[in-house]
């Protein structure tokens, strides 16, 4: 059984829905004209034709063309060692296809990744959340209209629960706190830089106000004749 024969068999199961198989570098590709029928087609490919391993699902953004997105499914069968590629298209307005997680459970993360990177939603997916970017990220970075350098966006707040036991004590630095730099022991003060020294003195004042006393070696007097 070759990939081409299997492709023809799959095509025979859905008359008028699947294109003539095309071959490039020994790989067989079928185009499915209706993305809504993908779960049926995949279920048949798995059950009847032995494509038990879903290698990968990929999305392509054909920016400027209609329909905009292409979905690519790579199928493989451990029984016959044949490969098959299924392609289907989905428009920008719709951006939604039914999930194939019911056929192969490995589709779960692949579909989440496509949703995350390309913004195509998978109807019926058990847990369609972003996977590589964080929850609440507003863009879809693999789209062609997203710049390589990225766009500024809000980074989520760091989720703190209760204050740690020694919070506010002499050895704890609060990230982003006013006195962070002053408390950081690795910060080195160039002795000749009077501006920097004065700034440090001011920060020390902050510390004193916040805690009633300054920790560490205490204020550094500016060098005589430096300014």
């Amino acid at each position: 059984m070759t990939s081409l024969e299997l492709a023809q068999q799959l095509r025979g199961g859905f008359p008028g829905l699947i294109s003539e198989p095309s071959e490039f570098r020994g790989e067989v590709t079928l185009k499915v004209s209706d993305a809504e029928r993908m779960p049926e087609i995949c279920a048949l490919a798995k059950k009847e034709l032995g494509f038990d391993y879903l290698v990968d699902i990929t999305s392509i953004d054909n920016y400027g063309e209609d329909p905009r997105f292409t979905l690519v499914y790579h199928l493989y069968g451990y029984g016959h060692h044949c490969q098959l590629r299924l392609k289907t298209e989905v428009s920008d307005e719709k951006s939604e296809v039914p999930t194939v997680t019911v056929v192969w459970r490995t589709a779960d993360w692949h579909e989440r990744e496509i949703y995350d990177m390309m913004g195509i939603r998978f109807r019926g997916h058990p847990d369609l959340r972003r996977i590589l970017m964080w929850e609440g990220y507003p863009y879809f970075p693999l789209r062609k209209d997203f710049p390589l350098a990225g766009k500024p966006s809000d980074v989520p707040e760091v989720a703190f629960t209760n204050p740690s036991p020694m919070a506010g004590g002499p050895f704890v630095t609060i990230a982003g706190g006013k006195d962070t730099i002053a408390r950081e022991p690795r910060v080195r003060i160039p002795e000749t830089d009077a501006l920097e020294t004065n700034a440090r003195l001011e920060r020390r004042q902050d510390v004193r106000e916040a805690h009633g006393h300054a920790h560490g070696p205490g204020p550094i007097e500016p060098k005589k004749g430096a300014s």
Binding site: F24, R25, E27, T29, D52, Y53, L54, V55, D56, T58, I60, D61, V72, H74, Y78, H81, Q83, R85, W104, R105, T106, D108, W109, H110, E113, M117, R130, I131, L132, M133, W134, P141, L142, F146, L148
Partner: protein
């Protein structure tokens, strides 16, 4: 200031006094966060566990902490320029990634069958050295995850030797970027084959010695046998690949199923597990290391002479002396560097048997020197997706045993 508060405990005995039937107390579920930076997670993986006592009831892996957008980057540079980025996928086996990527692009160009024999043999040597290095680390860190420190020191001694070999071969220990489209960046340095042979003789002894620490070790067996069992059908359903798939008893190795390079001319066995537990995955890796040594010996014995690059100036940079003296080579050099290798329109998928599993590159080309879309099918990403199915029902202490047995790398999971 800590405030004291009263802790109210349901009084079971009081209930029986009042005549109410005793009911089993249902404990509150506790949510525990493992990672994102935890010594046993092998990278920045975070798992949100829901616990009932010590039993895991729900597991939610959170990935993406190492996401760099490699696929986006690939769309914006030539095929050759992307080679160093492949080092940073599975950074424990950069040589194997280089080979996988080069083969994928060569498949697109249609020159994957025209590679000179010497190039093919050297690439196999690269792949197997990378596999050996990756499995040595996998073994050492796995032993450490389940509480054995010494193994790590032994395997890292051997890995150091592999890094020295890599350094003399490629000029870099970690970020090798050794392959080129249509060949290699340079030939083997003088004396390298002898160095490699010496290393192979040492490493087999070390593998045997190291194995005596673990394979029949009662503690190690208790911690790994019957833990994290993945049946065959589940492994296939979740798309596992590599040693994790073979540990579950599926006899599938891309080097055997679809031989690339010269794997069809070399003799090696594919170890397969029986029960699919952590112990089996460990055993498969140990045996694969021995097969690596076997393959490497064969390659070094058979290593032919001749060129290492495809004789096509439109793919590989021509030799510098000819670039400086001849017009045609100068043009080839200029076009290759500025525009990249001119690939035909089309699409290919190439799956490569990497140490961690099937590393696949799907390249969609519209012609020209840059891919229209390059998708990296990384084995670690797919292998990790089974965790939410596998972990529930296990004890909390088994999490490290299961994670270690998967031998994943977040660099390629997050890309």
């Amino acid at each position: 200031m800590a405030e004291s508060r009263e802790i109210l405990l349901p009084d079971a005995a009081a209930g029986s006094d009042t005549g109410e039937p005793l009911r089993e107390l249902e404990g509150e579920r506790m949510v525990l966060n493992v990672g994102p930076s935890h010594p046993a997670t092998h990278g920045v993986l975070r798992i949100v566990l829901e616990l009932d006592g010590e039993i895991i009831t729900k597991a939610r892996p959170e990935i993406g902490y190492l996401h760099r957008g490699d696929e986006k980057i690939a769309e914006n540079m030539t095929y050759t320029q992307f080679i160093p980025y492949t080092d940073r996928l599975d950074y424990l086996a950069p040589l194997a990634n280089n080979v996988a990527y080069a083969l994928a692009v060569e498949k697109l160009l249609g020159i994957d069958r025209q590679l000179p024999p010497r190039c093919q043999y050297i690439r196999v040597i690269c792949c197997e050295l990378a596999r050996l290095s990756s499995h040595l680390l996998g073994m050492g860190s796995y032993a450490m995850d389940v509480g054995a420190m010494t193994v790590f020191l032994h395997t890292f001694t051997e890995r150091e030797k592999i890094y020295n070999l890599c350094e003399s071969l490629t000029g870099a220990r970690f970020t090798t970027a050794y392959t080129r489209i249509g060949g290699l960046s340079r030939d083997l340095p003088p004396g390298w084959v002898e160095q490699c042979r010496k290393f192979l003789h040492e490493v087999v002894v070390n593998i045997d010695e190291t194995e005596t620490f673990l394979t029949r070790n009662r503690i190690f067996m208790d911690r790994t046998q019957g833990v994290g069992v993945i049946p065959k059908d589940v492994a296939i359903d979740y798309g596992l690949s590599g040693p994790n798939l073979r540990g579950s008893g599926v006899d599938h190795d891309l080097r055997k199923a679809h031989p690339y390079l010269v794997y069809d001319q070399l003799k090696f066995d594919v170890p397969v597990g029986a029960t699919g537990d952590c112990y089996d995955r460990y055993l498969v890796r140990v045996e694969e290391m021995r097969q690596c040594v076997r393959l490497l010996h064969q390659c070094l014995d058979k290593l032919p002479g001749g060129p290492i690059n495809v004789p096509d100036g439109k793919v590989v940079l021509p030799p510098k002396d000819r670039v400086l003296t001849r017009m045609e080579e100068l043009i080839h050099h200029f076009i290759n560097v500025t525009q990249g290798v001119n690939a035909p329109p089309g699409e290919i998928y190439f799956g490569h048997e990497n140490p961690k599993g099937e590393l696949g590159f799907y390249i969609n080309s519209k012609g020209g020197g840059t891919p229209h879309r390059l998708k990296i099918r990384s084995p670690s990403f797919v292998n990790l997706s089974i965790l939410s199915h596998l972990l529930p029902g296990h004890m909390l202490s088994d999490v490290t045993a299961v994670l270690g047995s998967f031998d994943f790398v977040m660099g390629e999971a997050d890309r």
